[in-house]
Amino acid sequence: MQQRLPIAVCFIAGALMFLQYFSPHPVARAVFVTINDYWQIIFAFTLLVGIAAFVRTNLRQISRGKEAPYRLIGLAGLVLMPVLAVFGGIKIESPFQWAFENMLAPMQATVFSLLAFFVASASFRGFRARNAQAVILLAAALVVLIGRVPITEMISDTFPKITFWVQNYPSMAARRGILIGIGLGSMTTALRVILGIERTYLRGE
């Protein structure tokens, strides 16, 4: 029961979602919409479970005195957003949106922008011409980098042309090879899951 019921649910959901793909019939559409709706709702609940686990771990560590100030900041942030939403709504110019625009969004954008620095340090370190492959990697990167600097375009249109060619033929061909491989690997994994052979999610106990 503990194994069979989930496997049966998995199989039925999988088979239905597979079959509906090929059908424009209203019944098939309804199946898709229903399962998709359930999916979204269950996901929202798992988020609640995750948050509960997060709060539990943090409280436990605070009581042990481990990094208590930081843990408290985290929990305060977590509580702040719902409180603002409850008291001021979530529409434009609400305190909730204010907190989003002035606290959360700038921090997210800044973490994202760290990438600029890491791109620089990785370039310095990762493009050394150690062997034939590394030379090709280096050459392709340089061609595109140079071809995409606005100044190069003003000097000559050869580089942008080479860049275009590299991207659209050799590079595109390899990308397709990777995509086909991933597509096949994903497909076989998905099939094992539906057939109940792959039971990673049933592990434990």
């Binding site: 359930y38 999916w39 942030g77 990167a141 595109v144 990777i178 994903s186």
Partner: protein
């Protein structure tokens, strides 16, 4: 000066201190970021999913069938019990199964069929030899050979796979080069915020 801008500026700088090394200021900003982002997700999902798609249909419109996802969702909470936690596998199984079911045709269509058709081009074009078509075919087939796992890469297979790795390297190098631009833009955007809005050096 607008208090919001000051907060945003200070938080921006706090994150940047990480580039020097991990430190209490970054750690505090990081904790705040994690907390706020979880709180934000909670509010958004609560409103757009739980209220709009579950609670309103169920209680305001009386769609009794919505009890099913409600129960499935609540089963996730059995994870906190040792005895009943197996029940949470049912909703997980539904999610995994549904995802897998839709993945099979979607993966085969978008990642396989579409890619195959796009690669077929005549080798002779308007009387001349089509170099591009040849490059694409050789690139694709040799990359596929690289991803052939059942046999050791020796002999003809080895050479083909080796050519495949060269094509892969072209792709990786070009993609890296291409993405540098975008990554730099984000940083330039932050500098713009710091110089224009926060420090008001540029007006």
């Amino acid at each position: 000066m607008d208090i919001g801008l000051i907060i945003a500026g200070v938080l921006t700088l706090a994150i940047y201190t990480f580039l020097y090394k991990d430190n209490p200021i970054y750690k505090a900003a990081e904790s705040l970021l994690i907390g706020l982002s979880i709180g934000y997700a909670l509010v958004i999902y609560w409103q757009t999913t739980l209220v709009d798609r579950l609670l309103t249909p169920l209680f305001a419109r009386g769609e009794l069938l919505m009890i099913i996802p409600l129960v499935l969702g609540l089963l996730m909470f059995t994870r906190f019990s040792n005895r009943l936690s197996w029940l949470s596998r049912i909703p997980i199984a539904l999610m995994i199964g549904a995802g897998a079911g839709v993945a099979i045709p979607a993966m085969l269509y978008a990642r396989t069929l579409k890619q195959i058709s796009a690669s077929v081009m005549p080798l002779m074009d308007g009387g001349g030899f089509n170099v591009e078509a040849l490059v694409v075919i050789v690139g694709l087939l040799s990359t596929l050979a690289y991803f052939y796992f059942s046999r050791e890469h020796k002999g003809a297979m080895g050479i083909t796979a080796k050519i495949g790795t060269y094509f892969l390297m072209i792709f990786f190098g070009a993609t890296f080069g291409y993405t540098v631009m975008s990554r730099m833009s984000t940083f330039i955007g932050r500098i713009d915020f710091l110089l224009t809005d926060f420090l008001r050096i540029l007006a």
